[in-house]
């Protein structure tokens, strides 16, 4: 298997200094792109180019050639000689320029050309602020991705995750958001009690999570811009495992009020509860199908954790078992196109992230380390971010459905439970 490691040092950001991309296997037939250095301020253009390159590399769908690998590096269409690119097997050419308007405004214009058609496909302008140059670059990456693949990109989306830092005999837990590449980390919540199971509301303006700050597991909803937060349901029992319905009106939860973990649906407006499961074994980790008609959950009813599905549209429906391979299949989520599920699977004492398409009768392991968990699928359905454990610390890694793998840069403390936002752009 081809294995190469790209280490890209980014200047001017000491906290986020190193991004290691370990691409084990990308697409078998990647798009070749000539990414010509942008015109404009050299240091800013350098930073923007690096972000774009990393964003496109993480998709596993591109082979990117920079100035040094090209025969000519035109800065506008008049100087473009397609044969210089055709000879290198390049499919698309991207060129652009950065304009520092003033101290608070910066804009980028980029153009995409098809070598095969010998014509310009796109010209785009992105307006931003100099302090958020990386975000501007993510927008360009997504524009390139969508022009070439026809799918929306996720470089401009955000991640939500939990970190734990141990110091002075105390653990401090934090709920954080970062850009999709792990940079631009910001803290949503700090606590000396555990925080688990974070997830985004469908409009990505609120988050839900489980906090132990009251002394036991309780589900909170927090508005990320205002910081306003509330306990989703008040009672004296544990509540956990929140999952928003696709329309944002309901939340499925695991309640412990029956003396055992059972799944309920909470109407967020009138706080009405509907019980979904009734079994003496563990039922938890519910998640909604893309159109909201089904709920998948982990149940121990067969003697080991397995995934089950419940049809919400059918009266008195019984849970249908979905996984049969191995003795541990848990925390499932549906692909956004509803063609399959992604979950944690135990194989020979290793916990891996696995994929099962509904039209196949076998599962596809996507990862192969020891303790992989908490998979979360990107809004376009092409990438899965998950938590790994290495040298007894937690890190975040990603795998694309095409097989490319990457790691996000080290963030201080143990990192776990990533959750991917919806589209923000």
């Amino acid at each position: 298997m081809k294995k190469y490691i790209l280490t890209i040092l980014l200047i001017s950001q000491p906290i986020f200094s190193e991004l290691v991309l370990e691409i084990t296997k990308g697409s078998d037939n990647p798009y070749s792109i000539a990414l010509i250095n942008f015109d404009g301020s050299k240091t800013k253009a350098y930073e923007v180019m690096n972000v774009i390159k990393n964003d496109l590399d993480r998709t596993g769908e591109f082979r990117i050639l920079g100035n040094k690998q090209l025969l000519s590096t035109p800065l506008n269409e008049d100087d473009l000689n397609y044969s210089d690119f055709k000879i290198l097997g390049i499919d698309y050419i991207v060129m652009g320029s950065l304009k520092d308007e003033d101290r608070s405004n910066i804009s980028a214009v980029y153009k995409i050309f098809s070598v095969q058609k010998e014509s310009q496909l796109r010209t785009s302008t992105v307006y931003g602020v100099p302090k958020k140059l990386k975000q501007l670059a993510h927008y360009i990456s997504d524009g390139i991705y969508e022009e070439i693949t026809g799918l929306k990109g996720v470089a401009s989306t955000r991640l939500l995750y939990v970190t734990e830092e141990f110091s002075g005999g105390l653990s401090e837990f934090k709920l954080n958001v970062s850009d999709a590449d792990g940079s631009n980390e910001q803290i949503l919540l700090k606590s000396y009690e555990p925080i688990i199971s974070p997830s985004w509301s469908p409009n990505s303006k609120q988050v839900a999570y489980v906090s132990f700050e009251t002394g036991m597991a309780k589900v909170f909803i927090q508005n990320i811009a205002t910081g306003r937060r509330e306990i989703v349901l008040e009672n004296k029992f544990q509540i956990s495992s929140p999952s928003w319905s696709p329309n944002g009106k309901f939340m499925s939860l695991t309640l412990y009020q029956d003396g055992n973990a059972e799944i309920y649906i909470l109407n967020l407006k009138n706080k009405n509860l509907t019980r979904l499961t009734n079994h003496y074994s563990i039922d938890t980790e519910s998640s909604w199908s893309p159109n909201g008609s089904k709920i998948m959950f982990t149940s121990g009813r067969s003697g080991s954790p397995q995934l089950y599905e419940l049809n919400l549209k059918k009266f008195n429906a019984k849970p249908q078992r979905m996984t049969f391979e191995g003795n541990y299949n848990a925390k499932g989520s549906y692909l956004p196109n509803n063609e399959g599920i992604v979950f944690v699977h135990r194989n020979n004492n290793k916990f891996q992230i696995a994929l099962k398409y509904f039209n196949e009768n076998f599962i596809r392991p996507l990862t192969n380390s020891q303790l992989d968990e908490s998979p979360s699928i990107s809004a376009n359905g092409n990438v899965i971010i998950y938590a790994i454990s290495e040298n007894e610390t937690g890190l975040l890694a990603g795998v694309t459905l095409s097989g490319a793998r990457f790691r996000l840069p080290m963030i201080k403390g143990e990192v776990r439970e990533p959750s991917w936002s919806g589209f923000l752009r």
Binding site: L188, I196, T254
Partner: protein
Amino acid sequence: MFNIQKLANKNLFNLCIIIFLVSSCSSMNVTEETVYDGGIRTVKAAIKEQASLDYKTKAIFTNATVYFEFDKFNLNSKSLQTLKSAVAAMKDNSAIKITISGHADERGTREYNLALGQRRAESVRDYFAINGINENRIMVKSYGEERPISVGSNEASYSKNRRAEIK
């Protein structure tokens, strides 16, 4: 000829993507957009008021820890031995109330482990109940895999972490 199409105006801040589709012989996309600049506010969780939720132990005789097998919540003979003295202490003094917290090792998913920790705590509670202790004197909760006693990805640590603590 310009065919102007407004694609999205998603949020109250300043995101607006307007795509002008230029319909000439070779169609080219012309787009303009502004980077979304949503703010974020940091919140600190209040320090918990443990007393309001947990039963406070009035005697150290009931302090005990019992251990479990992977993905199991049944009590073994050693655990039963451990719990005997705690039961006796609670019978001797009816004022004693206890909190049982269940825990899991780091393997497996966090929510499943939270539920598993709860089952372990409940197994202990059931033992007290069978032996004549009123369930009102027992508070049960789980920390799942979030509060390990021993840090390390090996069986020596795992076996210490799969536990129920009685306090």
